[in-house]
Amino acid sequence: MTSTKYDPRILKTQHPVPGAPDNWKRFFTFNTDAKVIGIQYMCLALIFLLIGGLLAMVMRGELITPPADLVDPSVYNGLYTMHGTIMLFLFLFPVLNGFNNLLIPTMIGAPDMAFPKLNAAAFWLVPVFAIVLLASFFVPGGPASSGWWSYPPVSIQNPLGHFINGQFLWILAVALSGVSSIMGAVNFVTTIIRMRAPGMGYFRMPVFIWTAWAAQTLQLIGLPALTGGAIMLLFDLSFGTSFFLPEGGGDPVLYQHFFWFYSHPAVYVMVLPVFGIFSEVITVYSRKPLFGYKFVALASFIITFLGLIVWVHHMFYSGTPQWMRNLFMVTTMLIAVPTGVKVFAWLGTLWGGKIRLSTPMLFVLGGLINFIFGGITGVMLGTAPIDIHVGNTYFVVAHFHYIIFNTIGFGIFAGIYHWFPKFTGRMYYEGLGKVHFVLTFIGATLNWLPLHWAGLLGMPRRVASYDPEFAIWNVIASIGAFMLGVASIPFILNIVSSWVRGPKAPANPWNAIGLEWLLPSPPPAENFEDDVPTVISEPYGYGLGKPLVEDQNFYVRRSMEA
């Protein structure tokens, strides 16, 4: 075959090389290479981004007019429940675990994850619970339709009385997702603590590693609460217990504590790695060291700590007593401080840089602007008296989409473009990337900016119909949503065509500093194999003229010869 051009180390391994025979098959096997698993996670997650996005477009079609006319309200409720569930558990968590798998071993110079088989098992649970969740569309009565919160008693009303129902499958899928995430988290945390290259002390780790570590620590602490809550809910639904049912002496508010003890930190699980991506991308495309690297790194763990003690701000109007509202308002407000540190550090990094507006940088700057906006509305929501007015309205929907799509989603796109050459061995098309950015930014702004006003005027969230005075905001939002649907076309076109026949990528196309850029593109299965470099400086030494590792030229030469 014509595969002689490739490094023999790449060919003998399980890693995909474009054009090499049959390599695509390894994506459908129980492969233990973290880089294969990373791509498995990402491709599966992007398919679910499309599915979740299609559900959202049906919802926006329904909401373009005030009455519930496109679909029955019961169908709308199922759609919005599945939209949220799919986006969180089948797009965001898997796609970020994809980044973790690709970046953690390569950035710290480890050959693979600490527990490769566990890693593969954690991934293969994802298609399993995906099938369980999607199967719920086809059971009598339709899928779960009580929102991704699944608050009892509405979630356990089970109108048809069947044992296998949409809500039952939903709880099963969420519990399995929790198991998968815990398995992943054990692996990531162990790998980061135990398998770093020689010389890579904690304060020489890239910020992405810091943020991934902080995020996965949250998973380990928080997920047991959600999984436990989900199991109790399952028992209430199917086996006649009454943990949360007042008829048997239970209290529905108890579930809210279990749910939010994890599900608020879950936001930080998702946003922290994106802060990591922001830090990596801004330094490369500004050609500057990260401003206040140590502060930024430590701020991640301060967010982790504070993130665990703010959950009651989701329950300000659940009958929470005044002292508790006040306490959790203070902790919630405090989170603005470490996140502010990060934002100012990124601004400081831009100062006096040599800025290049490539696609990843555009997505990061767009995401950063959106994050500042979403952070400000977040402080408003954390202010109890304001939250009592706008909580559970479209203001919240607008706020969290500013975080979850306009920040986290943008960061994910930035990361995909930035590391695309490294892990596929091919360059993407810059022009299509920029079209994708422009369409996404305009679409996202049209979609979520107007909804703030709908919420301020008192339009509740999760409604299938609404009073006519809210129509104008919803028409604009629906146009934005359809535009986001269109924005996926240049993205898919770019990724698929570049991977199949894009120009071959050099080892370090962006002239970036970091261990992963000292590897060939794509890296061989065991990364540095027996020659793990010794790290001798802090990351992000742009303009300092210091090498990152001992004997740097050897690694640069080797990566280029591949």
């Binding site: 529905p252 006040n326 308002m329 831009l350 800025i355 007015h389």
Partner: protein, 315 residues
């Protein structure tokens, strides 16, 4: 890699300081204007809570606008002024940080958010809307009224607010039942919030107040309306299939009008009350019961005054 980059000039020139100061001043003016506009983004203010909430919101909008304009202005300026030339592969200024600056931008936000929190705690205390939440025994059919804690400061009530999938029922101390909530202006009214099935939320945007209603508990809640008119009362907590239709009106009247309404309504016979869920469910059944599963709606409550859902509302 280029290793020698010019050192940044020490200190800022007077001209630069003046330009910066005028930009900050401009930002301040723009932010004040936006803070003023923010009052118009909210519905009419019709309770004692509204001025506090609106004031706090306007304050945060102004501060937020100042921060947002500043940061976005800085990003745009950097992108324009510090853009690398094509083919310029060199690095930027190797500034690794500035401890003094980093401490400043940790301490100042800390002070600001703590000041906001303390002010909000103060507002919370002044509003004093939320009373105790008491559990009652659902299995034993215990009456919520027997365990409820009443608000000693209230002049009206207690009015029982009963929420169901999907209708509202209001029971006044003299036994009158209605589907729309009638309140006298400028008097503190006490409510006992209960739910017959799932969690609902008692939300009146014009009052800026919202309280979830938890099945199995009775929550004592107090409101003082300050403006006559007809406003929307919306269920703000997802409660199943016809959740979005679960709305009714709050009618704030003068003291005399309220008293005469109570009097005259007491003499009216009981009729089926407003129940938007029932209407929607009948429509669904007539179309062949298509769609995904839902529990059937609770039957409409029997009330003296069913109200009129088609009357126009102000907010």
């Amino acid at each position: 890699m280029t290793s020698t980059t010019p050192k940044p000039k020490k200190g800022l020139s007077l001209r630069l300081i003046l330009i910066l100061l005028s930009l900050v001043g401009l930002n301040l003016l723009v932010s004040l204007q936006i803070a003023q506009w923010s009052f118009s983004w909210l519905p009419v203010a019709a309770s004692t809570a509204a001025p506090y909430v609106d004031g706090l919101f306007s304050l945060e909008v102004g501060m937020g606008a100042f921060l947002f304009n500043g940061c976005v202005g800085f990003i745009l300026w950097s992108v324009i002024a510090n853009r690398a030339e094509k083919y310029d592969e060199s690095d930027g200024l190797p500034i690794e940080g500035n401890t003094k600056l980093e401490i400043i931008w940790t301490v100042i936000p800390f002070i600001i958010v703590m000041a906001l929190a303390i002010y909000s705690i103060d507002v919370n205390g002044k509003l004093d809307t939320l009373g105790p939440k008491n559990k009652y025994d659902v299995a034993e059919n215990q009456s919520p009224k027997t365990v409820a804690s009443l608000d000693g400061l209230s002049e009206v009530g207690p009015i029982e607010v009963i929420s169901r999938q999907w209708n509202w029922e209001f029971v006044y101390p003299n036994g009158v039942r209605s589907s729309e909530l009638h309140l006298p202006i400028d008097q503190r009214a006490n409510f006992l919030l209960t739910s017959k099935d799932v969690i609902h939320s008692f939300y009146i945007p014009a009052f800026r107040l919202k309280q979830d209603i938890i099945p199995g508990s009775v929550i004592s809640y107090s409101i003082t309306p300050t403006r006559e008119g007809r406003y929307r009362l919306r269920d703000a907590h997802f409660s199943g299939a016809y959740f979005s239709e679960n709305q009714t009106h709050v009618i704030v009247q003068s003291k005399d009008d309220y008293a005469s309404w109570l009097q005259s309504t007491n003499e009216r016979p009981l009729v089926p009350g407003l129940s938007p869920g029932t209407v929607q469910y009948q429509k669904r059944l007539s179309k062949g019961n298509k769609g995904w599963a839902t529990v059937p709606p609770a039957p409409p409550p029997m009330v003296n005054d069913p109200g009129n859902p088609d009357d126009p509302h102000e907010a």
